[in-house]
Symmetry: C2
Subunit: 144 residues, 2 copies
């Protein structure tokens, strides 16, 4: 469904939202360990998300990643769009470029319904909302 890059991004964002609640910042090493992702790789991903304004960061001692204001209420849909683009939400299920409402592919209508539901689900899933759930058991963001 998502690329690995995107999965890492989502997990990292959830972790950062959780950790940076009281104005704290989280270092890349701590993030990588917590979500069980390759350190250098997740660093790249977060730099990208930073450029796109979905996360904030600060260099130097006591530096790290954090989210402030509206950023902490960004949705999974925002992250997916930033990393994987909108092909999941817009593209034809069969990869046909010319598939459209007036020239639908064989599974166009069935797909449309499902795709809208995926979009709504991801749009409703605000990063900040996961925090409470996570406080109970942080290990959920790890792979094993």
């Amino acid at each position: 469904m998502f690329s690995k890059t995107c999965e890492y991004a989502i997990r990292a964002m959830i972790f950062i939202a959780q950790k940076s609640k009281g104005g704290n910042r989280v270092g890349i090493k701590e993030i990588a360990k917590a979500i069980d992702a390759p350190e250098y790789f997740i660093a790249k991903i977060l730099q990208d998300l930073g450029r796109k304004g979905l996360v904030q960061s600060l260099k130097g001692p006591t530096g790290g990643f954090y989210q402030e204001g509206e950023t902490s209420q960004c949705s999974l849909a925002d992250i997916v769009k930033a990393i994987d683009g909108d092909k999941l939400f817009k593209g034809c299920g069969l990869g046909l470029k010319n598939c459209s409402e007036t020239r639908p592919c064989p599974i166009h209508n069935e797909f449309k319904v499902v795709r809208e539901e995926i979009y709504n689900m991801l749009e409703d899933a605000k990063i900040g909302e996961f925090s409470k759930q996570l406080e109970k058991n942080l290990t959920f963001l790890r792979r094993r």
Copy 2:
């Protein structure tokens, strides 16, 4: 959502079902052209689907691919499973190995609903059913 390989596979299967209705067989060149896929690549894919019993084929002159009996009523779900495996239907949305009913990840429940719908949609979509739709306008399986 699907790999390119899987998209090609679905398109090819729909085309074959349509063309092999009256006991006819379709050559790989015709398939490749009709669904706008690389010839050698779709050949590989169909060989794979052939081994897995989702399509039949015959070598030599007048040879080609075809579907007979139950094969023509295989579903998109069957094809997706054969090519991409079942990670779309079973895996955790965040790629967590330990995500489960008792230890759900933050988006586990939301995902479950969507995933089931995707599965049902693909399971209901029988290859043979697309034929009538296609007879009206075959170009729908092409990319441009």
